[in-house]
Amino acid sequence: MLFWQVIKVALRGIMANKTRSFLTMLGIIIGVGAIIAMLSIGEGAKRQVTQSIQRFGTNLLRVSPGAARIGHVRTGAVETLTRKDTQAIREKIPQIRLVAPSVRNMAQVKYANKNATTSVTGTTPEFTDVNSFPVAAGHFFNKTDVKVMRKVVALGTTVKQELFGEGVAIGKYIKLNGVNFMVIAIMESKGQSSWRDPDNQVFIPVTTSQKRLFKRDSIDAIYVQVESVENINEVKESIERLLRRRHRIPDGVESDFHIRDYTEFVTALREIGQTFTILLGGIAAVSLLVGGIGVMNIMLVSVTERTREIGIRMAVGARRRDILRQFLIEALVMTLLGGITGIAVGGAISYGISYFGKWETVVTPFSIFLAFFFSLLVGVVFGIYPARKASFMDPIEALRYE
């Protein structure tokens, strides 16, 4: 029998019970749709990581106090880095372009009757370049501001919105933990790219932060921009050696700081994204599996119902393999139709997620291929048993079946 005739027979079988076939296909549609949607979420997350690499730049190093811990987990307050370390790095290590310290504290910000809690980053003018965090309006503080511990502040957009709304902020005075600061700049919005909103912070000179506001000598991070990505490891080692010497750490003892480059950070994020994708994909795959069981169930019912048809076909000369092929193709056509519809539904869902949920989603050709392949696989795996059952029927019994 020609292939298209087999397809025609299969389609007729499916059309004979439209509601039942549709409900069966619904299982596959949901399964495949879920796979497409979930993978698109995972893929979107991966894209965002890639974009944030481009935003940060991969020639950035970050020196933090405390020994290296996976996933930024630190126990207790570790205060081993100082501004002197920053100066030493700036003076002694060649091949670096810029260095900026960072001191972070939480503080109450207040303007008129509005107040909010935000993160206060004490740093130096290099910070904006090092972290690619440009100023939108006004001027970031300069070296003199740092030297004389001026009480000036640059606001992130979230803080600016909270305190001033659409009004003018530059030139106004706000209170940080009760101390007056003049607003001199508004930062550009970075957009929320992870769990922390980078726009919900304010920047003040590092000296002001340490001496006037929080009375704390240690710093939380040193950002180092390397001249070129190629010698990033070399620079990393130089900094490591320099700081170990400065902190008098004997050989064989773990450093009391750690240096992270963003490639490492990005790799970690990517791995999280990967795990996330596998997990979501796995859950989706389970629903496809359930859909496949539905197909098998209906095919078994169909085989029983059509016992007589099978008998007739055998009587007029159908071989066992003709019957096997007929029912297998019927299951396949059903799962493939479900699969194609599921791909469309999944595409629509992922579009909906990115449109309404503001979460980037990407449907890749690979995920379409994967979903298509899996629906085919489900068709074969769950179609073969009913089809075999049909093909092994005894023609006499089948013809007698009422």
């Binding site: 029998m1 020609l2 005739q5 007729r12 004979a16 007589r308 048809e309 008998g311 007739i312 076909r313 055998m314 009587a315 007029v316 000369g317 159908a318 071989r319 066992r320 393999r321 003709d322 023609p395 006499i396 013809l399």
Partner: protein, 224 residues
């Protein structure tokens, strides 16, 4: 043309053994028009199933057109049913979702023909259904359904037509028309074997074989 020798068929239902056929020896020549009669349980259906290659005997041999069928596999038997045997059933056994034309095309498709439509149309014309080819079985009368079934049985020019109570579900007028169709087929040289318990039908056949308790009780050919 058909030669069966000492056919035996034993079923076991649980622990009980049922001897459906106890040793049937029969020769049917090409072009014969034969009836098999007998009370229910006499083994005539079993005999027909074996002659039709739907079933295998427990013992004995079967030769059809000089081919020994005793050691053939399922696929080969399917091919013989397809090419050499045409079945006509009491309950018609048409595919209800398919049109008359598609029902008649079925054996051609399994035989591997690609242009099936013209042959099937021609055969439907032969049985007098030229105007009903696109009707489904439930849109046809009993007689018309049986004609479709006959068209399906003869579309590949089989050497043997096996009809199991072909008029059992029809009124006598329609039944006679169907019988005329068999006579016409027989005149063209096809061997026709009808299983029936109606004497009038058997009377129209040139030879009648009576079965009882799994044996041939009487064979009209032997008496002449």
């Amino acid at each position: 043309m058909i030669e069966v020798n000492d056919l035996k068929k034993t079923y076991s239902i649980g622990k009980i053994e049922v001897h459906a056929l106890r040793g049937i020896t029969l020769k049917i020549r090409k072009g014969e028009f034969m009836a098999i009669m007998g009370p229910s349980g006499s083994g005539k259906s079993t005999l027909m199933n074996i002659l039709g290659c739907l079933d295998r005997p427990t013992e004995g041999s079967y030769t059809l057109d000089q081919v020994h069928l005793d050691n053939l596999g399922d696929d080969e038997l399917a091919s013989i049913r397809n090419r050499k045997i045409g079945f006509v059933f009491q309950t018609f056994n048409l595919l209800s979702r398919n049109t008359a034309l598609e029902n008649v095309e079925l054996p051609l498709l399994y035989a591997g023909f690609t242009d099936t439509k013209n042959t099937a149309l021609k055969t439907l014309e032969d049985v007098g259904l030229a105007g009903r080819v696109n009707h489904r079985p439930n849109e046809l009368s009993g007689g018309e359904r049986q004609r479709v079934a006959i068209a399906r049985a003869i579309v590949l020019n089989p050497s043997l037509i096996l009809a199991d109570e072909p008029t059992g579900n029809l009124d006598s007028g329609t039944g006679n028309e169907i019988l005329k169709l068999f006579e016409w087929l027989n005149e063209k040289g096809t061997t026709v074997v009808i299983v029936t318990h109606e004497r009038e039908i058997a009377m129209k056949c040139r030879r009648t074989v009576y079965t009882r308790d799994g044996l041939i009780q009487r064979d009209s050919a032997a008496e002449n």
